[in-house]
Homo-oligomer: 272 residues x 3
């Protein structure tokens, strides 16, 4: 079995950081199949890191090790952790980057198995206090990959169990007494689609042309099933591939046209 | 035999899209060697997608599977297709992204074998109408890679044969009665080189200092064999690695210096 | 043994260049594990190429082949070279991109084994004078990878030995009669950290709050061990993961806040 390791970081691709992590992995586990999710998480933006792995991980093979390094607290007391969730492994600083995964899993299954990474043998001996991607997270992933390839993954060999992982304090959608939902834009994707904090379960009753979503002076009333169905220049709502309600434009950039950005709020009235 | 899959998309590298496609491939064909060509095709720009794979594919191993996802029509009636061309495989939406390859091959060989991707077993069961890169193109590539690894690639297992692939309506160079050729800038590359729509066959008689290429107020009369031969600040013409005539600067950015961009036209007079 | 090849170039990731190099490698050495360090070296910037591989290479497995293509002189008389340094291999144009490695090694060990790449069988037959990444450097790396996989790497099979590799003329830090050191900013990294030309050996006596670093109107007196230890908005000095003294900000962008960029100089007074 060829172990798979995915990488999601805010290291960018202009420096040596990601390449160095991959060198460390190749040294410890030469057979690992290392797959980049993205390294362009905005610097220190834990929320965007959490949003990137969330829609992706289920599409990877079982037992994939997902390494997440968006780590503004490197060198502080924050713990490096290893989690087994949904038959996959996650290695990350304990800063909330696993929030969506933990929320999903705890709704539907047994509590995840979480460990702090403390075992010195699974770190680089030369470890610095500035680059834990290289010195802590990459070696832990590669050693776990070796364990998985041998069929004997043992999370407790990495450090003691923990039960209180940090969660992001997310802006949850609110529903007023009049049924009006207030939501927030979380992220803009590559195509200018606006990702909101509304999940399908939050707006289960949403139907095309039976709602009004108000974002600044824009009023959106269409819920479409694919981007091509949108009329030129007309923004619409859609459940895309990112697990949340998006505001989008057919072949256009909704963020630019609507002048919207992360943190902006909107209201949504059903049965409008 | 380790199957090779190349990826060319307009998905960018800031979101999870490309990583998710690679996760899908790893799940179906763990041994595949997945190679990125580029994911930075400008959003929805089918022409630039076509220009990216064209100079690259012949340098890959025989039987490589090239996946091209620049797909403004995702979710519409446009067909997903699989082609065997020149001993390689191409998987893409049927929107013209294979135009240059088809033109080349049809000039020199038998018509390519083209199939629509319709077989449900070679798609993800959970398929959406927004992300065919993940749900249609990546799984098709991975299943074909498995067939290739077993030595039994069977294109007809993916869907029915088609004979009328979509072509881009390209601005072809024109030659006036006075012999003056009018060409168009198609693309600016990373170094600022201007890629034109003139191929070697279009200007077979071009010789250094025996022509004049007029682009706005600039007059170019040198045809050089390498970038270093250019004098500082002097733009010149060159057949580079992109299969077309380029306008370039030694250690400079021709696009910036000349203020030129895709869509601009120029005239070329031979024997000037 | 699965051979490892790292790639560092200024080719960017928007064109086909890097993908084409990887296709060439896959054709010659299908088993190679190809790892990107970065392709976003600023165009023609040999110094930044040299700075990228320097802190990375030791973290790769022994016998890794590091390919460096920042090559403003492609097509000129500059030699393509292959070096064995510290148990790793380096393939690059002979333009100084190996300067830091050569300096390090010559301080501590035997002179490195350097060869010019001249053997026609280890180049592509179709070689151009514009794209040696594809036609010279990638095939050399892949043929060497095959030799390494067979346990018979033979540098002399690639071409004759050379002894006079080109070095970058670097701005070295200077120390005045008053003990004041003048240093230079070499590079800004992804996080805005300012990488200087001071190595640990240059300022072995540096101690927190026992020095003053003056960069324009900014005075920096803290030497910290990790980024988190910095107070909000307060720039500090740190030995990070890039082998040199950096000027940094905790969760901030030092380059932007200080308005500093490569080439700027600063003074450093110890025992201030």
């Amino acid at each position: 079995m060829r172990p798979v390791i995915s990488l999601t970081t805010d290291f960018g691709t202009t420096d040596h950081f990601v390449g160095t992590m991959k060198g460390v992995i190749a040294k410890i586990c030469p057979d690992a199949n290392v797959i980049d999710i993205t390294h362009d998480i905005p610097a220190y933006n834990v929320l965007e890191g959490a949003l990137s792995i969330w829609p992706a991980w289920r599409y990877f093979p079982a037992l994939t090790i997902h390494v997440l390094v968006v780590d503004p607290g490197v060198g502080s007391e924050r713990r490096p952790i290893l989690a087994r969730i949904g038959g996959h492994y996650f290695i990350a600083p304990d800063n909330g980057v696993l929030t969506f995964l933990l929320d999903d899993i705890e709704r539907t299954g047994p509590p995840p198995d979480l460990h702090e990474l403390t075992t010195p043998a699974y770190r680089l001996g030369t470890q610095s206090v500035t680059f834990h991607g290289r010195d802590v997270f990459a070696p832990a992933a590669a050693h776990l990959a070796n364990q998985i390839a041998c069929g004997n993954a043992d999370l407790s060999s990495f450090g003691p169990r923990i039960k209180d992982p940090v969660r992001l304090q997310l802006e949850k959608p609110t529903r007023g007494p009049d049924g009006v939902v207030t939501g927030t834009i979380l992220k803009v994707d590559r195509f200018g689609n606006l990702l909101t904090n509304l999940q399908a379960a939050d707006v289960a009753d949403l139907q095309d042309q039976r709602f009004a979503l108000n974002l600044e002076s824009n009023r959106i009333t269409r819920l479409l099933k694919n981007y091509m169905a949108g009329k030129p220049g007309e923004p619409f709502a859609i459940f895309g591939s990112s697990c949340v309600l998006e505001i989008a434009l057919n072949r256009g950039n909704a963020a630019k046209q609507l002048g919207a950005s992360p943190g902006d709020t909107f209201t949504l009235t059903s049965d409008a």
